[in-house]
């Protein structure tokens, strides 16, 4: 498989490999384009390797280590030549950070996995913490509720970063959810394996979202967003659901998740 060209190491213009993540690729290509735009605005050179598929989470969380290892190795090979790997998802970012554990016992691959894990970043934390990017140029009039997805929040310590970036969006107020640390009930295959429990969790979450009175819900993970949008639409709520990158990139004019195209 052809490799990405060896990066020209310019500290000012790091070469970023964008891992779009499978859910964004299929469900929300707009998130991929928003990520591209933001990374470029922040001064990065961005490549999108074709060899990317999925980060391996469905296998890892199902206890299928051999499959996870196969996918991890392919992902490492596809991305290890970049200065950074950036994903518009805390949960997939967490997965890449888990690769050393996935490849435990294989010294060669574990070394490569560790090197990759160390340069893997979720999008908003990469923009805020690594690039110290403060040049958001976007406008959205209204109030948004921000949901902190679990892996991002607890594993990658992402909480202040999206808020700091959103604070630069003109016209926007960000509201915190009640019970901000509570999982939305997505959990990958959990939401279908244990649909009833997941439903209770997402129902509680939706009640919290509605309690904020915000007109838009934002988060940094397409999986959680599909889950919450799926419930909000099911109960007929007009709350719009978007990935945070869409707003930051000033691309919130496309239909929100679960909304039809056409005049709105």
């Amino acid at each position: 498989m052809p490799q990405a060209p060896f990066p020209t190491k310019a500290a000012s213009q790091p070469h970023v490999g964008l891992f779009v993540t499978c859910l964004a690729d299929v469900y929300r290509p707009g998130v991929g384009f928003a990520s591209l735009k933001l990374l470029k605005q922040a001064g990065c050179r961005v490549s999108v390797p074709d060899a990317q598929t999925c980060c391996g989470q469905p296998a890892w969380n199902s206890g299928d280590r051999p499959t996870t290892q196969a996918i991890a190795k392919a992902t490492i090979a596809a991305f290890e030549t970049f200065d950074y790997v950036v994903l518009p998802s805390g949960s997939c970012g967490g997965m890449l950070r888990d690769y050393p554990a996935v490849l435990d016992g294989d010294a060669h691959w574990q070394g490569r996995a560790t090197a990759l894990a160390e340069k893997t970043w979720e999008l908003t934390s990469f923009l805020a913490d690594v690039m110290r990017f403060e040049g958001i140029s976007a406008r959205l009039d209204g109030a948004v509720a921000y949901h902190d997805s679990c892996t991002g929040l607890r594993r990658l310590k992402i909480k202040a970063q999206p808020r700091a970036l959103l604070a630069q969006v003109k016209g926007l107020t960000v509201r915190d959810l009640p019970n901000p640390e509570e999982c939305c009930g997505f959990g990958g295959t959990f939401c279908v394996k244990y649909g009833d429990i997941s439903n209770q969790m997402v129902s509680d979450k939706v009640a919290d979202i509605l309690a904020t009175g915000a007109d838009t819900l934002l988060a940094g993970d397409v999986g959680c967003l599909l889950n919450m949008a799926g419930k909000l639409k099911k109960i007929g709520s007009p709350v719009k659901v978007r990935h945070v990158a869409e707003v930051l990139a000033d691309m919130a004019d496309q239909p929100a998740i679960g909304e039809a195209e056409g005049p709105r």
């Binding site: 290509p29 074709d50 391996g56 206890g63 392919a74 009930g185 009833d196 599909l226 679960g258 909304e259």
Partner: protein
């Protein structure tokens, strides 16, 4: 205790439909969570204490045989007797024979999860010995003939009207028309009834939060003082504890006590912390004439040296279940055995077998909140995943899941085919739901669409559009 863990899904559904559960579970979330957070906040060294607690327990587990022997020697030096029980059956027999040696008719009991684990109450009752639980919550569930639904608040699922019903049904010597609508009235009645039991008991059985190797002491914490009456009034005191409860010194116990109370209830210290060291000595004002410690293994030593060893650091504070969104949705009984919540989902497979407990490790979103609050820094999500791996390698997941993973692997390791497949999926779904932006029904995804709609993709995949728009060669 017989497990109903295999029926976890049905149990969970029943719990979700049980309207009486919503209020107590909501109370637990706001109560325990807020109080723990405040207690942790108020103690600047709390996070450091957690590290110290973890390191201490790791040290103990590495030298468990040494500390157990030290403990046993110290107990015997203070006039007590130590019994080693390999499994639940042995532990039950030991307790029964102690009771028989003293011609016991009634035993009082302080709260003990080990007693639940070995099914002691039913066993004693079968042998004509009446066990009486003295912790109010335990007493309530004993009357209701059900297992605890929480490790520190066993009757959290019982509303006060249900308590009144249980009291009326049991305390038939009291006037039938007495008022029992206020918590105070319930408490007073339980007190009066239990007071007589304390005085009549021949043997008192308690659990132990810690066993102290250097002194041979056992420690229990309670908020009701019932533990003291249980262990001091009868002439025989039996302590039931599992091996890993051991700590080297009194000072070590103090460290863990600070973590325990704050993590459990948000208290700085529990109302009563009681130390027992051997039987009454000449000149002691009170205390039992005989002191026995039953040390239960029941599969725990098998975990030493495995990836599950870290579970043995647990001090049973309950914080993981208080913060678990799954426990918060279904409560404790749905888990189907003694220990619910994240700790239960890790421990139960180890104690009753992964085949029997197969659903538990999977019933989690791995959100990580349990690990974030566990005072002993037990990586519960990682351990849940280890169990999933064991299940996978033993071919326990259903064929459909395994086939799905094979298909997934086949595509995910073939990027070109993956792109074709994702493109087809995106376009297909798009076509089906273009008008509304979502689908209300979708074949093979009923488990999703029963409760939610399925938002449809935007159209082309990102990868397809990106290649088309940027016209860049594939790299």
């Amino acid at each position: 205790m017989q497990s109903t863990t295999r029926q976890f899904k049905d149990n969970a559904r029943a719990a979700l439909n049980d309207a009486t559960l919503r209020q107590p579970l909501q109370k637990l979330k706001v109560g325990f969570r807020v109080r723990r957070a405040q207690a942790a906040e108020k103690l600047p060294e709390f996070e450091t204490l957690r590290d110290q607690g973890r390191d201490l327990k790791n040290h103990v587990l590495e030298n468990l045989d040494f500390y157990l022997e030290t403990f046993a020697t110290a107990v015997e030096a203070s006039g007590g007797v130590v019994h080693w029980a390999r499994d639940a059956a042995e532990a039950r027999e030991i307790v029964l024979s102690i009771c028989r040696d003293h011609n016991a008719r009634t035993v009082t009991k302080g709260k003990s999860m080990i007693s639940e684990e070995i099914g002691l109450n039913a066993y004693l009752a079968d042998h004509d010995i009446t066990p009486v639980e003295t912790d109010l919550g335990e007493y309530i569930i004993q009357l209701r003939n059900e297992p605890p639904s929480h490790i520190i608040a066993p009757a959290i699922h019982v509303q006060k009207e249900m308590v009144a019903d249980a009291f009326r049904a049991t305390h038939t010597h009291l006037p039938a028309d007495r008022p029992l609508s206020e918590p105070r009235q319930l408490l007073d009645e339980a007190r009066a009834v239990l007071r007589d039991k304390f005085l009549a008991a021949d043997v008192g059985i308690t659990g132990a939060n810690f066993l102290i190797a250097e002194t041979g002491s056992t420690v229990i914490v309670t908020n009701e003082g019932n533990g003291d009456l249980t262990q001091l009034l009868p002439k025989v005191h039996v302590v039931l504890a599992s091996l890993e409860k051991i700590v080297p010194t009194l000072e070590d116990a103090a460290l863990l006590l600070r973590l325990l109370a704050r993590s459990a209830t948000g208290q700085e210290a529990s109302s009563y912390t009681s130390f027992s060291t051997g039987p009454r000595r000449p000149g002691d004002p009170d205390g039992p004439e005989h002191f026995h410690v039953v040390l239960l293994d029941n599969g725990r030593s098998r975990l030493l040296g495995t990836e599950f060893e870290e579970m043995l650091r647990c001090i049973r504070c309950g914080a993981c279940m208080n913060h678990c969104p799954v426990y918060g949705a279904i409560g404790g009984h749905a888990y189907g055995w003694v220990y619910p919540g994240p700790i239960g989902s890790v421990l139960t497979p180890a104690l009753i077998g992964i085949e029997e407990a197969a659903p538990l490790p999977n019933a989690s979103t791995l959100c990580g909140r349990c690990e974030a609050v566990c005072p002993m820094r037990i990586p519960l999500p990682k351990l849940l995943r280890h169990w999933r791996e064991q299940e996978f390698s033993r071919h326990l997941p259903p064929g459909r899941t395994r086939l799905g993973l094979r298909v997934y692997r086949w595509f995910a390791t073939r990027p070109a085919l993956w792109r074709l497949a994702t493109r087809a999926a995106a376009l297909g779904l798009r076509m089906m739901g273009r008008k509304t932006g979502f689908l209300t029904r979708l074949p093979f995804a009923e488990d999703w669409t029963r409760h939610r709609v399925m938002p449809v993709p935007q159209g082309q995949t990102f990868m397809a559009r990106y290649r088309a728009e940027t016209d860049t060669p594939e790299i």
